[in-house]
Amino acid sequence: MSALLQADEASALLAAAIRGELPDERGRFGPFGGRYVPETLVPAFERLEEGVREHLHDASFQAEFRKELHEWVGRPTALTFAPRLSEIWGADVWLKREDLAHTGAHKINNAIGQAILAKRLGARRIIAETGAGQHGVASAAACARVGLPCSVYMGAVDMERQAPNVDRMLRLGAEVVAVESGDKTLRAAIDEALRTWVTDPEGIYYLLGSAVGAHPYPYLVRELQSVIGEEARQQMIDLAGGLPDVAFACVGGGSNAIGLFYPMLGDDIELIGVEAGGTGNGLGQNAATLATGTPGVLQGSYTIILQDDDGQVQETHSISAGLDYSGVGPEHALLQATGRVKYISATDDEALEALEELCASEGILTALETSHAFAAAKKYAKEHPGKRILIGNSGRGDKDMPTLTKYPARTRSHAGA
């Protein structure tokens, strides 16, 4: 995809990104991003953009957001050294523990931030989409916390494979709307949330869960998730004795990855995003958007998407619902085009194997999404011995038990087993 930008253009855009100048006033990250939405939603997006400008970096918003992150979410999350994994891999492996955040994943950082914003903007109710259910649970919890009603749109296929999260959302007081249209996964859920927003653009706040969609969402979500990278960067200096050589994060829409990477763009750290390689390289067998996709417009943004020659968006496959998406955040498209971040993929099998290894060696059940980052990091460690590796451990895997029970645990030959 680097052919999308001339070399001098790429370096100028990367420098602008590092200086914090992107997106530009049109919501563009270089060629990517923008706002492709139905006319009915244009005023709503303009109000949101205005609200973000007024509140996001306002001292009173930031004070409330930081207080909630600390007292309710439980931040800062730990940085954990992984001694046994380090030994097995021949590396120095550190984990940024977003799985320890309230509700079990990084999604809560964005959800509570946007819920506070929605309250300040006078929204009457909140809608959200969810894939793996983590953003749905985070939104349900955040809405309960700020006192706003919440409806979560979730593909019927995802409701089945993430059943425990559906129950959690209901118990947290949210309504869960089953989406039976399209591919019945995250993409269809976003389409349906947008259709609902169109019916009441003034009363509804759409709490989008990833760094995707039309401007200002990719920017807003990045700003709210950057706490991950800010903390991790300082914790590496304090606890690990210096910045990592390389950092890994899984990428679906890319919110945890942009949160981890963004504060490190200007550092001498190799950054690697890991997408879902699914069961193979064919169209429809994976969700490796950046690795195999082409530029196009999906759900409000000009970015890299999985599509056929006619511009029809393709269905994806991944064992992890949270990575099962045909698009990716526009800032990732730019970071790939500039060469600053490398995007690779790990297969379903590799992810499952990595999940088991982490469980057995460090006592951490990580999410299937996150497992992709571990699988890629392990390969990297074998090829580059002795590196200091940071992995964004974006969420915990309890929600994946219905999927995991279909794959019998590979028996491990521990002493006494």
């Binding site: 009915t40 006619d310 029809q312």
Partner: protein, 257 residues
């Protein structure tokens, strides 16, 4: 006459004959690709302008009927290229000006310059692109206008006054006034303040205004016809075709014929 002026002229002719212009919408190739041209001719014989829906995998501004027709047409292999090939084969046999309604990505994938060439050759006079707001539209607009094709702007009840003026000025062919804040195929009826809204759009527009979304019956057409030059009928017509019924009696009934 430029292609987009054919649209305006067709609507003006209906106005002159003392009735609202009828703009039927069909999803191209639905329900059966083999019947596409036959159906199109039947509809174009009654409609003043015909709106052709290009199927897309993510029709985010559409309700269940048009989603269903879109997914089914795609499943049966309908593509923009196929639609142009079919239209070429019927060249000269369809008098009503055609307008294509497409989400942006299939047009991007096709390529704007090639799109304008093929559209002009196929008798297409304008485009409606529901996920392309004015601010993002310069490139497509330029490619279309180079061939005399129009980019038709949508306005909605939520559109602020200053923006309404910008959109009316930018539009070509007609101004598409969305009647409701919602998606296509709504069953809730037309809003009570529709008349004031349509009058407001008509005041600001030098082009005829056609109203669409939620128009299903003769009384709907009559109601919008008092305040707009034309009525767009989409989901209700797609449902007629879906049932295998003859679309002509239905369309004629809408304008009291």
């Amino acid at each position: 006459m430029q292609a987009h002026e054919r649209i305006t002229a067709a609507i003006a002719a209906a106005t002159k004959s003392g009735r609202p212009a009828l703009v039927p919408f069909i999803t191209a190739g639905y329900p059966k690709p083999a019947d596409f041209i036959y159906t199109l001719k039947a509809i174009a014989a009654v409609g003043d302008v015909v709106e052709l829906g290009i199927p897309f995998s993510d029709p985010m501004a559409d309700g269940m009927t048009i989603q269903r027709s879109s997914f089914e047409a795609l499943r049966q292999g309908v593509s923009l290229k196929w639609i142009f090939d079919q239209l070429d084969s019927a060249s000269g046999e369809i008098d009503a000006p055609l307008v294509m309604m497409s989400y942006l990505n299939p047009l991007l994938a096709f390529g704007y310059d090639k799109l304008a060439d093929r559209a002009l050759a196929a008798g297409v006079c304008g485009f409606i692109v529901p996920d392309l707001p004015f601010e993002e539209s310069a490139e497509l607009r330029a490619a279309l206008e180079a061939k005399g094709l129009g980019l038709i702007q949508l306005v909605t009840p939520a559109t602020p006054e200053t923006r309404l003026q910008t959109l009316c000025d930018a539009s070509r062919g007609f101004v598409y006034a969305v009647t409701i804040t919602g998606i296509t195929g709504g069953g809730a009826g037309l809003p009570a303040d529709l008349a004031q809204y349509l009058d407001r759009v008509a005041r600001l527009s030098s082009l005829p205004v056609c109203a669409g979304f939620g128009i299903r019956a003769r009384e709907d057409v009559a109601a919008v016809g008092k305040h707009a030059a034309g009525a767009i009928v989409g989901s209700a017509l797609v449902e007629v075709l879906e049932r295998g019924d003859d679309p002509q009696p239905y369309l004629r009934s809408l304008i009291g014929q």
